[in-house]
């Protein structure tokens, strides 16, 4: 029974090793793709190609796997920076909104009172990293022409004040 079991074991571990060996390149590539997805969208295409080519220059499947894990770490580190920048941006936006709130409410009231229709309208805008988002602006038009307060707002460049 002993020798038979040993042979069986050896066969099994060989099979297992072969299996892992076959999967390793796939895992490395998946990790690379995962890493790239953490980067800002404008950089994703570049780093996918750059990092795949880097993997191609690394000898050995285990070596490739280690480098791919490094890509995930690299992407995470840079996305932490992005995250901090994002938080700073959002916080200052909220603070600005609070400071400007009385003025914004006043302008909103004037827009509402002087013409019929909604105070705000949506407008597609382009943000950080080329991401599109919907911004809000004060409505400056009333029945197909610019309203009185609208003229003032347009001239002062203040119609697009409110953030998404």
């Amino acid at each position: 029974m002993g020798p038979l079991l040993a042979i069986f074991n050896a066969l099994l571990s060989k099979l297992f090793a072969d299996e892992i060996n076959a999967w390793l390149p796939w895992i490395s590539d998946q990790l690379t793709q995962l890493a790239v997805k953490r980067l800002p969208q404008v950089h994703q295409e570049r780093y996918l190609e750059e990092w795949r080519s880097h993997l191609g220059e690394v000898p050995g499947k285990i070596g490739k796997l280690a480098v791919a894990v490094g890509f995930v770490r690299a992407a995470f580190r840079s996305s932490v920076r992005e995250f901090v920048i994002d938080i700073i941006g959002r916080t200052s936006a909220v603070l600005m909104l609070l400071v400007l709130a009385p003025l914004l409410v006043l302008v909103g009231l004037i827009v509402k009172v002087t013409s019929s229709g909604p105070v705000l309208c949506r407008k597609p805008m382009v943000g950080r990293g080329g991401h599109p988002f919907e911004g809000f602006r004060f409505r400056t038009m009333g029945s197909a022409r610019v309203t009185g307060i609208g003229k003032v707002l347009r001239r002062s460049g203040c119609s697009g004040c409110v953030h998404a």
Partner: protein
């Protein structure tokens, strides 16, 4: 937002040293081999240096289809990067040369 405080680590100096000394453009894999930095350390440094315009990069010539593999991204140091690297190396050099008892 453009001019953040530049933080130069020893690893950054290693990368700069490798780029300053190489006569031709090199890939990230080349730099990793020369400095033996892990990819997880190297790429954040390269990203930062490129953001500061100390280094620049371009794709190698050729089409991935005809090459049969993804293109290599090639890095080289800029004039600004070379100047600043020399200044950084000099800083380290004077820091090493100054004897400890001379600090008082």
């Amino acid at each position: 937002m453009g001019n953040k405080k530049l933080r130069i680590t020893t690893q950054t100096l290693e990368v700069l040293g490798s780029l300053v000394s190489s006569t031709e453009e090199v890939s990230g894999a080349d730099i990793a081999r020369e400095t033996s930095l892990a990819s997880g350390t190297l790429y954040p440094i390269l990203m930062r240096l490129e953001e500061w315009r100390w280094i620049e990069s371009r794709w190698e010539h050729g089409d991935p289809h005809t090459l049969g593999r993804p293109r290599r991204r090639l890095y080289r140091i800029t004039g600004l990067g070379a100047r600043n690297s020399r200044a950084e190396f000099k800083k380290i050099e004077t820091a090493i040369r100054r004897p400890a008892w001379g600090l008082s």
